[in-house]
Amino acid sequence: MNPIIKLLLEGGSLTTSQMAQVLKLSEADVNRQIEELKQQRVLLGFRPVLNLSHEDSGVVRAVIEVRITPERGGGFNRLAERISKFDEVESCFLMSGGYDLLVFVTGASLQKVAAFVSEKLSTIEGVLSTATHFMLRSYKEHGFLLGGKVEETERLKVAP
């Protein structure tokens, strides 16, 4: 694996200058490599991981199981890509099992998500059915635990 990616994954919130120090590169080199990874579409971008369970976040999230008709030549791809383009869609996966696509959707309110499903998603030619599940509470987001306080584990400062 590319050392910069490894560092991004395990180094938490290292600045590019810290990364440069670890990798013994210039900061400009680190920035250039990150830019290259973006151009190669290996690194898609960075986003903050937020605790959306705070009441004032005003975000409703849902997971939608979508059954679609595959097409000769392209399979599920054309429809999956089309659905993925909607701003409401956070993520979209082709799945094995009882449905075809698993679509993660966010919206400002329950009505807005419902409207997206009924007016946009289910009216697309080739979409056979949808089953929408609203998320009630989040316990872990992208590797971060949300529940309770951050547990500081104590290590002795010095030990043999």
């Binding site: 490894k6 560092l7 395990e10 180094g11 938490g12 919130s13 290292l14 810290q18 120090q21 670890v22 013994k24 584990t153 290590r155 002795l156 400062k157 010095v158 030990a159 043999p160």
Partner: protein
């Protein structure tokens, strides 16, 4: 009333740790960046912790057999067979101990007659010499040197050997130096042990954290299983220091002798830790390798930084300790560590905490986050520059 007169003479005679006061200063210092710990920074992987919780829920709260749970002993024999190339019988060649520390103590107490001499390489873990003394043996230190990457050489063994030597203790890879021996070196040590009819206590607690080459257990060499007690545990590789769980493998007669001591002192290791240890062996390999990879990269970074700072630092082939030579500062290791702590709030351990062989060196543990390692190395660099400016 002077209670001290009640203390046994051999305990009175145990040398007090020369760096106790240093430890006290570190403990009191707030917000220190500590490279002074001797344990992983990762918490025990969750699936192992969960196995411990599950054990409690299921009422596994009783004594186990003195030797330990047979399921754990079987898992250990599989693991040791696969990873160390030695096969042991779970029924009578393994005993579960409270960490390697207890295993080492049991072996000393089971094998040492008063006056028997025990060889061990130095710098070394702090408990080796006291364990020998407490069992009324005579410690015979064997020096290792930076020029050899702190590997133990047969020349040094030969020079230190004296009549009456019965036991050879090994700790490869070694705390605090990170030094270890390659296969040829271990073979040479084995030959020496056979020649001098020594029994070998091999503490291989850092073996999974070997970054270069393949770890060779002395017990796996021809003719050595019969004269080796293999000591290992879960603390370092599986990040389980606080669980206090380890094991000893060896010839049935010796394990039986250790068991005698164990049954009258410890009875058995905690059943909860034993249950968690089964989980670690059966399903913990991926998490362990992931941690090892991270230590590996952090080692490369911190060793490079020490060398950039001007402290000659050999590449520790195993463990999570760097052992830089700080003698170019012209200050002894203890004063350097205290000065560094007071000026920069970075804690490293003076090498002499691990014996006279640590003179001129300090131990820096790199089992901590990149942010801390970067910041600590920068502060050490500034401190060394300021010392240079003063002289």
């Amino acid at each position: 009333m002077d209670q001290s007169r009640f203390i046994a003479q051999h305990v009175v005679n145990l040398p007090k740790s020369g760096i106790r006061d240093f430890f006290d200063i570190v403990a009191k210092m707030k917000d220190a960046i500590s490279l002074g710990v001797g344990e992983p920074d990762f918490d025990t992987p969750w699936h192992i912790r969960e196995a411990g919780i599950y054990a409690i829920e299921k009422g596994k709260t009783h004594y186990t057999s003195n030797l330990g749970l047979i399921e754990l002993r079987r898992a250990i024999c599989d693991y040791v067979g696969k990873n160390f190339n030695v096969s042991y019988a779970p029924e009578n060649e393994v005993i579960i101990t409270v960490g390697v520390s207890e295993g080492l103590d049991l072996a000393c107490r089971a094998l040492i007659n008063p006056g028997d001499k025990v060889m061990y390489h130095q710098p070394c873990y702090v408990s080796y010499s006291p364990s020998i003394t407490l069992a009324h043996g005579i410690p015979v230190p064997v020096p290792t040197f930076a020029r050899d990457g702190f590997a133990l050489t047969v020349d040094a063994l030969r020079a230190a050997w004296q009549p009456g030597c019965k036991i050879l203790m090994l700790n490869l890879p070694c705390n605090p130096t990170g030094g270890t021996c390659d296969r040829a070196q271990v073979e040479a040590i084995a030959k020496f042990a056979v020649e001098k009819d020594l029994i070998v206590l091999s503490d291989e607690i850092y073996s999974e954290l070997t970054f270069e080459g393949v770890h060779t257990s002395i017990a796996s060499l021809p003719g050595m299983k019969e004269r080796t007690i293999f000591l290992h545990g879960f603390s370092k590789a599986f990040s389980m220091t606080g669980w206090r769980i380890g094991y000893a493998c060896g010839p049935a007669t010796l394990i039986e002798a250790m068991m005698k001591v164990h049954q009258y002192s410890m009875l058995c290791a905690s059943i909860i830790a034993q249950e968690a240890a089964i989980e670690a062996l059966v399903r913990g390999e991926d998490a362990m390798k992931k941690m090892r990879d991270q230590y590996h990269r952090r080692r490369d970074f911190i060793v490079r930084r020490f060398n950039e700072i001007g402290f000659k630092c050999h590449l520790p082939r195993g463990s999570f300790y760097a052992f830089p030579d700080i003698s170019k500062t012209g200050i002894n290791e203890k004063d350097f560590a205290i000065g560094l702590l007071q000026a920069t709030k970075v804690a490293i351990v003076p090498g002499t905490a691990f014996g006279d062989g640590g003179k001129g060196f300090c131990r820096a543990c790199f089992a901590t986050s990149y942010e801390q390692l970067i910041e600590a190395s920068n502060r050490i660099e500034q401190h060394v520059q300021s010392l240079g400016n003063k002289t």
